[in-house]
Amino acid sequence: SQTIHQWPATLVQPVGSPLSLECTVEGTSNPNLYWYRQAAGRGLQLLFYSVGIGQISSEVPQNLSASRPQDRQFILSSKKLLLSDSGFYLCAWSPGMGVNTEAFFGQGTRLTVV
């Protein structure tokens, strides 16, 4: 069966510090991968998605970036965090082929920038 792992679960970082959140998927090949952000009291906003190694599409211009160094690994990064980067970050995957387009989510990372 497929599983998705996301870490860390919580993170408190000072303004201006770097960020690295990691997500890995097991039990499937060539998944589509996604990073979403959920601000307090709001829905999920798609930040990045990837359909293959090294292929990253950005939905929202910001100081965050994403990378996919391996087929089932997706990393969210920032060189310098802003207060506005605080939020709940969710990694998700969906099958890379076929029409089963539902997304499966990780446990999420609560990021607080202080």
Binding site: L44, V99, T101, E102, A103, G108
Partner: protein, 117 residues
Amino acid sequence: AQTVTQSQPEMSVQEAETVTLSCTYDTSESDYYLFWYKQPPSRQMILVIRQEAYKQQNATENRFSVNFQKAAKSFSLKISDSQLGDAAMYFCAYTSYSGGGADGLTFGKGTHLIIQP
């Protein structure tokens, strides 16, 4: 751009009663998928039900069913025999078929469902 609107920030229902959560969306696509996700206090996103736009029959999963009105671009979720474990945030989501779903989901802002014992 596609948008998803959930007009009910919060709903409350008595245990064992039925509740309906509303969702409308805007798209120029003819083929797409719609979903309802549940987010309990643990914040884990859990798929509740999905609907393919080309299917006329409304999707049903046990106590959960949808009323899909394609012309009206409406996609409501009905929860029958509400249980305490149904208490959560519920998000309506959309993805276009043309991208094979690869370009991600567009979410509404959510409805907070409270179950009164």
